[in-house]
Symmetry: C2
DNA sequence: CGGGGTTAAATATAGTATCTTTATTATCGT
DNA sequence: ACGATAATAAAGATACTATATTTAACCCCG
C-alpha cells in the first residue's frame, strides 16, 4: 500500500541529537506534518512495520509512537488486512476528557470553571440568536418540551437540561465554543442533582423557554443577557453544592 | 517501594469482557481513580513491572498503558532507580497542544477561534480588574514598557504583545481562562506578523497601556469593553491575513 | 454463465517472553 | 563530604504466538 507522500523522505534529516526518545521524534514529525497541512484526516500513515523501517527503529518504538499519537487523538489504528494507522478526524469527546483531566490535575475550583462557562455560554447564546437555522430553532423547542415532560424525573431532567445548553452552543455554529462547553460540562455538570427542587426545576425550564424564544426572534443582546444571568444562577448553586459536599466529607470521614 | 493504595485491589474485579484491549482497561482504571480522588498529583503508580504484575499482563501491555497515560498528561515517567510512573500535576502546555491539534483536525475557521478568544479575553480583563494584585499590575506595566522598547522589532514586539494578553488572563486569577487562552493563542497567534505596520503597532501599544490602566484603577466594565473591542480588531486583522494567505496559495500553486 | 454467500488466506495489531543498552539514583567506602 | 560503584528502571531490540479483520478465492445454486 502506498504511504502518504508527506512521510516519504522524513528520514533524510538525520537526527542531530535524540530529543529524549526515538518515539517522541516520530510523534513530533507526524504532528509537524499535520500542522503543515502535509497530512489531512483520513490519510494513511503506514503500519507499525512501515513506520519502523521508515524511521529505522524497532517495532516497539513505532508502537510507542502510535500509542502516543492515538492517545492524542491524532491517529486511529485498525487491525487486520488493510489496517494500520490513519490520521483521525476531530474528536470532541476525546478532547473534552483531556481538558477535564487537566483541570482536575491543576486543581481548579468550581468557581473558576463556572466563570469560564459563563463567558462561553453567553457568547454562544448571542451567536445562536444571529446564526441559528430553522432546524436549530426546532431542536431547542423540542428539548424544552422534552424537559417539561420529564420534570419529575430528576436524572432525566438534568440530562435534558444539559442537552439544551449544548444545543444552544451548536446553534451558534461555532465549533470552538461547542468543544469548550463539552469539556467544561464534563467537569462541572453534576451526575446527580441533589438540590434540585420542583420549584427550581420550573424556574430553569421557564428560562430555557425564554432563551429559545429570544434566539428564535433573533434578539442577540437579550439572549446574551439572559444566558449570562442564568449561568450565574447555576454557578451559585454549584458552588453551594460543592461547599455542602466538602462539609459532608468532613463530617463523615 | 509501596504502591498507592488506590491500586491495591484493582484486580479483584475480574474483567467482565475485554473492553477492546488490556491496556485500555488499565488506562481507564487509573483515570477513574483520578476522578474519584483516590489518586492525586505526585502519587506513585508503580513501575512497568509493578503494573504488569498487578494487572496480570505482560510488560508491553503495561508499557502501552503508560504511553497512553503519559500522552494524556496523566502520568510522568522517570527512568532509573527510584523511577517509575507518578501522577503528574497539570500541564497547560500539553493541553494547549491537544486543543490545537483537535481544532486543526476539526478544520475550524480563524473566525470561530477569534470569536471564542473574544469571549475568554473580555471576561479575563473584567476579572483582572477585580482580582489583580499589585504584582500583576507591575507585570502588566513592565510588559507595556518592554513592547514600547521593541516596537521596531516585529517578531519581538509580537511575542511581547502575546505575553501581555496572557498576563491579563493570569491577572484574572482564573486558571481555566489561562489554559483556554494558551490553547487558542497556540492556534491563532501568528509566528510572523506580515501586516504589522508601525502605525498599527503604536495603536495596539496604546490600547494595551489603557488596558493596564483600567485594570489598575479597577474599572471592570471599562476593561471588559476595551478588551472586547481590541480582540475584535485583532480578529479582523487575522481573518484578512488568512484570506490573503489563501489567495497567495492559489496564485503560486 | 452469473450472483451470492461461505470459507480460507493474507495481513496487521495485540500480546508474550527474553534480552541488551542506557540513564538515573542510591549506597557505600574512604 | 565526596566519589566510585552497585542497583534500578526505562528504552530499545528481537523473535515469537494469538487474534481480529479484510480480501479474495471458491463453491454452490439458479
Amino acid at each position: 500500500m502506498r504511504l502518504h507522500p508527506a512521510l516519504e523522505y522524513s528520514t533524510r534529516d538525520v537526527l542531530p541529537f535524540r530529543s529524549a526518545t526515538l518515539s517522541t521524534r516520530i510523534v513530533h514529525e507526524v504532528r509537524e506534518a499535520l500542522f503543515a497541512k502535509e497530512l489531512r484526516p483520513g490519510d494513511f500513515l503506514g503500519t507499525e512495520k512501515d513506520l519502523a523501517q521508515r524511521f529505522n527503529v524497532s517495532r516497539i518504538v513505532a508502537r510507542d509512537a502510535l500509542r502516543t499519537l492515538e492517545a492524542q487523538g491524532i491517529v486511529e489504528i485498525k487491525v487486520g488486512s488493510g489496517g494500520g494507522a490513519r490520521v483521525a478526524s476531530g474528536n470532541a469527546r476525546l478532547f473534552a476528557e483531556a481538558l477535564a483531566v487537566q483541570l482536575d490535575l491543576t486543581g481548579v475550583s468550581v468557581g473558576e470553571i463556572m466563570e469560564a462557562q459563563r463567558a462561553i455560554e453567553s457568547l454562544a447564546a448571542e451567536l445562536a440568536a444571529i446564526n441559528a437555522t430553522p432546524g436549530d430553532h426546532a431542536r431547542l423547542r423540542q428539548l424544552v418540551e422534552e424537559a417539561e415532560r420529564k420534570i419529575d424525573d430528576v436524572a432525566a431532567y438534568t440530562r435534558c437540561s444539559r442537552e439544551f445548553h449544548l444545543a444552544v452552543a451548536e446553534a451558534s455554529h461555532n465549533r470552538v465554543l461547542v468543544v469548550q462547553l463539552i469539556s467544561l460540562q464534563h467537569v462541572s455538570w453534576p451526575a446527580h442533582n441533589p438540590t434540585l427542587t420542583a420549584e427550581v426545576a420550573h424556574r430553569i425550564l421557564d428560562v430555557h423557554r425564554q432563551l429559545a424564544h429570544l434566539i428564535e426572534t433573533r434578539d442577540a443582546e437579550g439572549a446574551r443577557r439572559l444566558m449570562d444571568e442564568h449561568v450565574q444562577m447555576i454557578a451559585g448553586r454549584r458552588i453551594a453544592e460543592h461547599r455542602g459536599r466538602d462539609a459532608a466529607a468532613r463530617d463523615c470521614c
